[in-house]
Point group: C2
Chain length 317, copies 2
């Protein structure tokens, strides 16, 4: 059997944890001191933090340690991308029960490091401590490379609504797993290891995107944040969002609704954004609707009222 | 009765949490978007993260919510100070059980904000989620103002060892509380609300300090990190560390040892550092020993072997 966290002890554990972390030219001082030092060439730093709790955000029987590391990194790196910034570094804090295998924490570290490396970032520091419930907090840092940050508040009536990345896949995978199945692998894999379209965030910023958000709670819910922050109405056209066959088949087999997965499922970390109407969308982005005067979200002209249902008498369209 | 987090719901909770956060000129984009944007005028950012878990790092019957916020902020801000940097921003992630009073999270937010403001920093973002155990992860960012980061690795034989801030007070306060007492208030207060000597970190950096560390685990243990990272021996002279009367009296009353509190108690977040022998120490710093050739830590010439005891046959002195 693998040693537990308690057997390994804090300092050896930190050693085993941090040895998975590569470095990059932006890492001026890596793990091992009171704090890390990371290059911020733009003289501004973009920063966000996100916490994953076992049983709430992940289950040990559904996800490997590396999956959890991947997921925790992806959730934060996608937030940095949604600001139009390039991720530079991650910090990771972990609370673990004393009987957690040290190997599990090594797997977590390797998942974090691998996903960070995929976007040219590195894990530069962290903290490990004892807790009753496995809990992982990742903080991501990013650089704007001289550009203005892309907020949720810049959408304008007349804008094109566009999407990069996948929606509904993670929700479908979670549904499959929660019914006790392990396939289709494409769906389960999407839940375990989201693939945010990181590069699409910087690409959109370079094209002068007006507003952008990381789709982590669900497309309609997150578009609601743009609508509210920008003071606009957002109209989604589902003709632009065909249901992938794998997802449609899984939904039929499970008696679920693929459309609901796509419109309200989170955790794929797609990027949603609005652009000026005459934009030539960067690669990976597709039009999925429009921005208008008013408030709230409509889908094919029907007003969406949030997870609880639909308002069939929209006040604005 | 106060509403619980479950009753308030995530979005209103975030609103109530973030309304405690002031802003500063360094906050270019505060809470409410996918990520915050903070000024990094030095084109480098110092970053650290620290996790506090209920029952392990704090107890609800011993600390108010604001105390916990203060403590979580202080632990991170002291790490930034120990690099010789000036704190600019905090991010805070909180996992809380569903029956946590929303007021408690507001108290936490106010404690975080107040302690950040004390050093001119602001809370710029965060995350709230459900968890079985109250868990708070704070990330701090800081600016080096053009200076080199002060690491643990720069101590040189011949250096003066110096200390800024208090040691043993938090350990004494914890001991008092754990025996069921609530006074002396000076000790209990020190445990609840550490007062790290933040300014002493930047002052030391300006004086060309060689190595510095935040004393969070205990003076001897943390000096051990400097000794190891620098490849030196560190000799502590307790004549330079008189026991405060309040602490001596409390130790007598409780049958404890004030000297042990001072040498091995953490959580006061004092700063320990080594300077060139001819230095004029900045205000707030006092000499407490010397740096020599060799390895490890001695106290009045006796070798310290870590929390487990003493080696009375030191190989280096």
């Amino acid at each position: 059997m693998s040693e537990t966290v308690a057997e390994v002890g804090e300092f050896r554990l930190i050693e085993r944890f941090t040895r998975h972390f590569d470095t990059t030219p932006a890492v001026l001082l890596g793990p091992g001191d009171d704090a890390a030092v990371v290059a911020a060439p733009d003289a501004r730093v973009v920063a966000c933090t996100d916490m994953l709790v076992e049983g709430n955000h992940f289950r040990l029987d559904w996800c490997s340690a590396a999956d959890v590391g991947h997921k925790a990194a992806a959730a934060n790196l996608a937030d940095i991308a949604a600001m139009g910034a390039r991720p530079t570094a991650l910090l990771a804090a972990v609370a673990a029960p004393q009987d957690t295998p040290a190997e599990w924490l090594e797997g977590l570290a390797s998942g974090l490091a691998t996903e960070a490396a995929a976007v040219g970032a590195a894990v530069v520091g962290g903290d490990t401590t004892r807790g009753d419930q496995l809990t992982i907090t990742v903080t991501a840092l990013g650089d704007l490379e001289g550009r203005a940050p892309v907020t949720r508040g810049g959408a304008l009536p007349g804008d094109v609504l566009a999407l990069a990345g996948r929606i509904g896949w993670a929700a479908a995978g979670l549904n499959v797993l929660s019914r006790g199945f392990r396939s289709p692998g494409a769906l389960v894999g999407a839940y375990r290891r989201p693939q945010p379209p990181y590069a699409a965030g910087v690409d959109a910023a370079l094209m002068g995107v007006h507003a952008m958000i990381d789709v982590s709670d669900g497309l309609l819910s997150d578009l609601g944040h743009i609508a509210k922050a920008s003071g606009v109405a957002i109209h989604v056209d589902t003709a632009a969002l065909p249901t992938p066959e794998t997802m449609r088949n899984a939904a039929e087999a499970l008696g679920s609704d693929a459309r609901t997965w796509m419109l309200t499922g989170g955790e794929d970390h797609a990027l949603a954004a609005t652009f000026a109407p005459d934009v030539i969308l960067p690669e990976g982005w597709r039009r999925i609707g429009t921005v208008g005067e008013g408030t709230g979200i409509t889908v094919n002209g029907t007003r969406w009222k949030g997870p609880t249902g639909w308002d069939h008498f929209p006040e604005a369209k």
